[in-house]
Structure formats: structure tokens, C-alpha cells
């Protein structure tokens, strides 16, 4: 298989004096993989994702997507953040159709009759998606703040998939959800991944979550404070993970992340704790 994403010797610093966040990340991701990037809060996972998206540029090294550098985000890489994923001024349906709408019509052509015809088509299409992600028809005309957190993230996923991106980037997409909802969402994203064969790069600080979804887990951690995070572990997984394998894998990841100094390490015990405590 060819590499869809090549991350080469990627380094990122912030501020002056420069504070290193990432130091020399190397990673290749093939088409169709489901990669989870794991690491403690503040280790630079979101930064890595922003560099892949192209909303920021690295201080050293490069990210190639399909062999090209990207200077800004575009529709080939879909994105689901933890918060603010949906446009609050649009209904659920209009949020889902936003992608095709904005790509096919500019500020002026969207005044033409053709636009309204096409929008009807798109809305029908979006309805299908809505059903697939487990929302009801009645939810279509609601505004995002009338939905629960889990429902919002479902819509955000549908919104991202509607443009049929080759890569789906998710940043702690389920971290604000309660454990039950979170498990449902994990199942859903696995399902969608299998159906659409989209390459998924999923960032999380929750080991259990990573192990229960990914075909490959990459752990980022700092070796010492003077440097940024590096790839400390990169392992392939057979999915679904066997229950009796879990403790061993968790121990392995925990070993790499080292320190049990901070409360963050509690999550490596395999317990599913509410996020408020972890963050």
C-alpha cells in the first residue's frame, strides 16, 4: 500500500524563546488505516493534527498528503474537533449540507435558482446520512444547541463525511461525552470507517478508547523537558482487541508514557473515568 500521509522529521516550537512541542516526528500512514494518536494532555497531539490539516506550518520537517504539502486546510482532509464542531447558526441539515453547498456555489451563484434545486437534492442526501448516524427526522430542523453532546458529534461526523474526504482527522472528538455515549460513538466511527474506507487519524488521551478502535496506535510523549514530544511507541493492533489482551496492552502503553506523577496517569489503569477529573 502507498503512503497517504508522510510525516517527515516534523518539529514545532511555539513562542519566543522557542518552546519545543514536537521534536522530529516520523510517521507514515497508509490509505485505509485507522490510527490513534495517544498522549497526555499538552503533549502536542492537537498541534500534530493542525500541522496535518495545514492550518499551521511546522518549524522544521514537513507533512506530505498524497505527496504534496498543503498550506491550508481543504476538503480532502475532514476534521472533527472536540468542541465548536457545528455552525450554531445552521440547522442540523444545513450543517451537513454545508460542505457541498460551499464547494459548488460561491457567494453569488448561491442566489440563483439552480442553487435552490441543488440544495433540495443535498438535503435528501443529508437525510440519508442523518439516519445512518442514528438521528431522527425530527432532529433535522433543530439547531446544534438543542442537541445533546453526543448527537452534536454525530452530526459533526456526518458533516465531515458528506464531502467524502480521503482522510478524517478527529481531535478528542468524544472526550466531552459520558462513557456510555462515548462507547456508542466509538462503535459508530468504526462502522463508518469500515463502510467508507476513509483513512482515520484519531487523537485521544484515553488509552482504552485508542485500543478499542484503532488498527494502529501511536504514542507521543516527551523524553525530557528540554525537547518536544516524539513517537515513543508505534504498534499495529488486531481489531477487535481481545478482552484478555487489554491489560497487557494498557501496561505497555503506560510503560512508554512513563511517569505516574500526574493525575493523567489514572486513565492508563484502564478505568474509564469522567473527563472532568482527567482534564
Amino acid at each position: 500500500m502507498t503512503n497517504l500521509i508522510s510525516i517527515e522529521n516534523l518539529s514545532m516550537t511555539y513562542g519566543s524563546p522557542a518552546r519545543p512541542i514536537l521534536s522530529g516526528i516520523d510517521m507514515s500512514i497508509a490509505e485505509g488505516e485507522f490510527v490513534c494518536v495517544l498522549g497526555q494532555t499538552g503533549c502536542g497531539k492537537s498541534t500534530l493534527l493542525r500541522l496535518v490539516l495545514g492550518s499551521e506550518q511546522p518549524t522544521r520537517g514537513q507533512v506530505l498528503v498524497d505527496g504534496e504539502r498543503h498550506l491550508r486546510p481543504d476538503w480532502t482532509r475532514g476534521y472533527v474537533p472536540q468542541k465548536y464542531a457545528l455552525f450554531p447558526d445552521r440547522t442540523v441539515l444545513d450543517n451537513i449540507t454545508f460542505g457541498p453547498e460551499v464547494r459548488e456555489f460561491n457567494l453569488f451563484t448561491r442566489m440563483m435558482p439552480r442553487f435552490f434545486r441543488r440544495r433540495r437534492e443535498l438535503r435528501m442526501h443529508a437525510m440519508d446520512y442523518l439516519m445512518r448516524i442514528g438521528l431522527r427526522e425530527a432532529d433535522a430542523t433543530k439547531y446544534p444547541d438543542q442537541l445533546s453532546g453526543g448527537m452534536q458529534q454525530r452530526v459533526a461526523i456526518a458533516q465531515a463525511l458528506m464531502t467524502q474526504p480521503r482522510i478524517l482527522l478527529m481531535d478528542e472528538a468524544f472526550s466531552a461525552l459520558d462513557p456510555g455515549t462515548r462507547r456508542d460513538m466509538q462503535k459508530l466511527i468504526r462502522q463508518l470507517w469500515r463502510d467508507t474506507r476513509t483513512t482515520v487519524l484519531f487523537v485521544t488521551h484515553n488509552t482504552q478508547e485508542a485500543l478499542s478502535m484503532a488498527t494502529r496506535v501511536v504514542v507521543l510523549a516527551k523524553e525530557d523537558p528540554a525537547h518536544g514530544s516524539r513517537v515513543m511507541l508505534d504498534m499495529a493492533l488486531n481489531q477487535p482487541c481481545r478482552e484478555d489482551e487489554m491489560p497487557r496492552l494498557i501496561a505497555k502503553v503506560e510503560g512508554v508514557c512513563g511517569s505516574s506523577r500526574d493525575p493523567e496517569s489514572a486513565l492508563f489503569s484502564g478505568e474509564e473515568l469522567p473527563d472532568k477529573i482527567l482534564l
Binding site: S55, G99, R103, A160
Partner: protein
């Protein structure tokens, strides 16, 4: 055992609530009437505190009698609907409304500038420092310069509003635009939007209710500068009339005029609030 009375947790009943909210109005009117009556008893020629009858007469004259310059043109028995449009009150209101409308139009480029400053770094760098400086200029202190530079016609009054109000609106919109979570912008790009799609279809649309609220808050400032301009250099308008009548101690018209202006401003504000709610049903007031 009953718990102690708490001010914060008290719930006035509906009738009591209404009564209480009108109490200050009633007190204001009552005190005025008492003072006016007392002063008139002392001196029937008294002009500072006109009686209600005088004010009603004054206001009806202003609203229904033809303005001075075209006195003869209306027949004696013309209907109210023919007489009001020829009246002094209508002419003044029209002149002031026109200027008010122009100043509102001027706020549109201000909003757009603020939006672009918030989103595009080059625009921000180019304008921000200058506008921060501009914002600190006391607009009224520029009045003489404006009259010298632009003459005493409409342009100088409009410029006064530009200098007085637009920096606030620009900076407000700028801050609102910067407050949009970066995730939203990134998200829009990943869905295929371009720079201007993000600016107008994502950010501006989300900001609009807040921008309208900020304009509502600044209505007073707009009126302040408008009135300052009209009082000092104008030949029509509500403020011109008030300033003119001051010379004749025409309190029986000034007081109704002041209330009339307050009523108009209240109506503008109210309609903006209603429009805001109708246009943005998704908006939750913070």
C-alpha cells in the same frame, strides 16, 4: 421553622411587579405636575414648567399646524393626514431620520472592516493601530475643524458620526470576529470553503446578532453626535428645533419634543430587537 427572607430569592407577583415598574414614572409625572401647578399659582406667566394643557397645545400645534414657510397652502378644514405631513414636527422628524439613516448606512462598511480585521492578519496590521488612535479622538472636539473643513452642511454632520461612532463599531466587530473559535474556521476550510466563504458565510453570519446588539447599544451615541451637529449647524431637524425654541423659552414644545425623540429611539431599538430575534432564531442571548 420558616427560613429567613432573602432578597435574592424573592419573587414579586405579577400585578405587584407591574405596579412597581411603573412607580417611578408615576412619581416623575406627579412631582412635575405638582411643581408646575405650584409655580403657576405663584406666577401665571411662568414659562419654565408649562402645564399639561400648554404642552398638549404646543405639541398639537407642532404636529398639525403647517410649518412657517408654507403657511398658506393648506385649506382650513384639511384632514389630520394632510396636515401632519406639512407640519413642523414631521419636517423635523424627517430631516433627523434622514441623517440617522445615513449614519446607519455608514455602519455597514464599519462592520465589514471590523470583520476583515478580525480574520485577515494583513488588514488587521494595516488598520488596527490607526483605528485605536482614531477611537481616542474626542469627536466633539473636532467639531470646529469639521465645520471649517467640510462646511456646515450635511457632510460635516455625517463626518461627526463617522468619527464618533464607527471606531467603536469597528473595534467591537473586530473583537467579536476574533472570538470565533479557530476550530470553526478550520472546519469550514475542511468542508471546502475559501477565505471569503469563511468571512461571510460562517463568521459574519454568526456575528450578526451580536453586531446588531452592539449597534443597538450605540444608538445613543449616534443620536448624541447627530444632535450635537444639528444643534450647532443646521436649519432643520429635531435638535435644531429644540435649540431654536430654547431662545424663546418654548418649554411647552421642547418637553414634548424630548419625549418624542425618546419614543422614536425606543421604537427603533425595539424593532431592531424584534428583527434580530426573527432573523436569528438560533441565537441565545448571553
Amino acid at each position: 421553622m420558616t427560613s429567613a427572607f432573602s432578597l435574592i430569592h424573592s419573587k414579586p407577583g405579577r400585578t405587584f411587579d407591574t405596579a412597581l415598574s411603573w412607580l417611578l414614572f408615576a412619581a416623575g409625572v406627579g412631582i412635575y405636575l405638582y411643581v408646575a401647578q405650584a409655580r403657576h399659582a405663584e406666577n401665571p406667566e411662568e414659562r419654565v414648567t408649562p402645564t399639561v394643557t400648554q404642552m398638549v397645545n404646543g405639541f398639537t400645534d407642532a404636529a398639525l399646524k403647517p410649518a412657517e414657510d408654507d403657511e398658506a397652502t393648506l385649506p382650513e378644514n384639511a384632514s389630520v393626514f394632510r396636515r401632519f405631513p406639512a407640519s413642523m414636527l414631521w419636517k423635523d422628524t424627517k430631516a433627523t431620520s434622514r441623517r440617522f439613516f445615513y449614519s446607519m448606512l455608514l455602519l455597514i462598511p464599519a462592520v465589514l472592516l471590523g470583520l476583515h480585521m478580525g480574520l485577515f492578519p494583513y488588514v488587521r496590521v494595516f488598520f488596527l493601530r490607526f483605528i485605536l488612535f482614531f477611537d481616542k479622538i474626542v469627536a466633539l472636539s473636532l467639531l470646529p475643524i469639521l465645520f471649517i473643513a467640510f462646511g456646515i452642511d450635511e457632510l460635516s454632520k455625517v463626518m461627526l458620526i463617522v468619527i464618533g461612532v464607527t471606531p467603536t463599531i469597528i473595534l467591537d466587530t473586530f473583537n467579536l470576529a476574533r472570538g470565533i473559535p479557530p476550530e470553526q474556521v478550520t472546519k469550514a476550510f475542511t468542508l471546502g470553503a475559501g477565505d471569503f466563504d469563511v468571512a461571510y458565510r460562517v463568521v459574519l453570519k454568526q456575528l450578526m446578532p451580536n453586531v446588531l446588539n452592539s449597534i443597538r447599544l450605540n444608538l445613543k451615541a449616534v443620536m448624541l453626535f447627530l444632535f450635537a451637529g444639528e444643534m450647532i449647524a443646521s436649519t432643520d431637524g429635531l435638535a435644531y428645533r429644540i435649540a431654536l425654541l430654547r431662545r424663546h423659552m418654548g418649554m411647552e414644545i421642547i418637553i414634548p419634543y424630548v419625549l418624542w425623540v425618546a419614543l422614536l429611539l425606543f421604537l427603533v431599538d425595539l424593532s431592531m430587537r424584534v428583527i434580530n430575534r426573527k432573523l436569528h432564531p438560533w441565537f441565545r442571548e448571553a
